[in-house]
């Protein structure tokens, strides 16, 4: 019995020791570095495309497509997962994280088939983002029509 009482007293301490430390500062610094780096790579592509004669808007669009392509490839080779483990939101918030979420959930449900597995699960994360995005754009458009 004494043992149990002792354990009860020590338990909160044990929980504290084994629960993950609150590393908000370090995590945000990592997110800052990774997120900043991804955006800078995107800007780099834009500059390169502009250098080769593309208009600014086109260059930005092609740069976004390039980032999405790279993210899909890196996810396929299981590399983006590791970037995500280090960078957290820094890897998730950029458009590359959006593409990564699509590919990784599609990969995970590959066994359920090409239509209901991959075809449907591609949109586990992307679906909500596109749904709310479409709604927001229509609402904004209507407001600006009347204002």
């Amino acid at each position: 019995m004494a043992n149990i009482k002792q354990l009860k007293n020590e338990y909160p301490q044990i929980v504290k020791e084994h629960s993950p430390k609150n590393k908000v500062m370090i995590n945000s610094a990592k997110a800052f570095l990774v997120g900043g780096a991804i955006c800078t790579i995107g800007q780099g592509f834009t500059e390169i495309y502009k250098y080769y004669g593309m208009a600014k808007d086109d260059a930005q669009m092609v740069s976004t497509v390039t980032l999405i392509l790279l993210s899909a490839i890196f996810t396929g080779f299981n590399i983006y997962d590791n970037i995500g483990k280090f960078g957290g939101a820094g890897a998730a918030i950029p458009i590359t994280g959006f593409a990564n979420a699509m590919v990784s959930s599609a990969m995970e449900f590959k066994k359920e088939g090409y239509v209901y597995g991959m075809g449907a699960k591609l949109f586990t994360i992307a679906g909500p983002v596109i749904v709310f995005g479409a709604i927001a754009s229509v609402v904004a458009g209507i407001i600006f029509y009347f204002v």
Binding site: A31, T64, N78, K110, P128, A140
Partner: protein, 122 residues
């Protein structure tokens, strides 16, 4: 030097946006998908209020690459299309402006998933 300054601005602004996401992830119970939707909507609302465009002009990809930039592109597209096409522009403009990105994500995403297998969880 100019290019270096441009890239530095991109890095700092993109980094700040992502670290806000990380703080939300660590300090609240919001999951990754919800934070993405939240950032998208934040980008959309700030764009409608005319506050996101200056950030894009300042930081370029630092503001357009984060998912809030997707919200920016959607709303900007819808507003511009309303100016050109009238009421129906509200329905066509957003997706039209972002169609290349969405289609790229679907096509490349499906192909990448088709050609690769998840790492075994051992």
């Amino acid at each position: 030097m100019d290019l270096f300054m441009e890239l530095l601005k991109t890095f700092v602004v993109g980094g700040i946006i992502c670290s806000i996401g990380q703080i939300l992830l660590d300090r609240t119970k919001l999951t990754g998908g919800r934070i993405m939707v939240l950032f998208l909507l934040a980008g959309a609302v700030l764009t409608a209020l005319g506050l996101y465009e200056p950030l894009v002009n300042f930081a370029g990809a630092g503001a357009t690459v984060p998912i809030s930039g997707f919200g920016y592109a959607l709303v900007k597209g819808a507003i511009e299309e309303v100016g050109k096409e009238g009421f129906m522009g509200a329905f066509s403009g957003g997706i039209k402006a972002t169609s290349a990105g969405i289609t790229a994500a679907i096509v490349f995403g499906y192909m990448a998933a088709l050609l690769s297998n998840p790492k075994s969880k051992s």
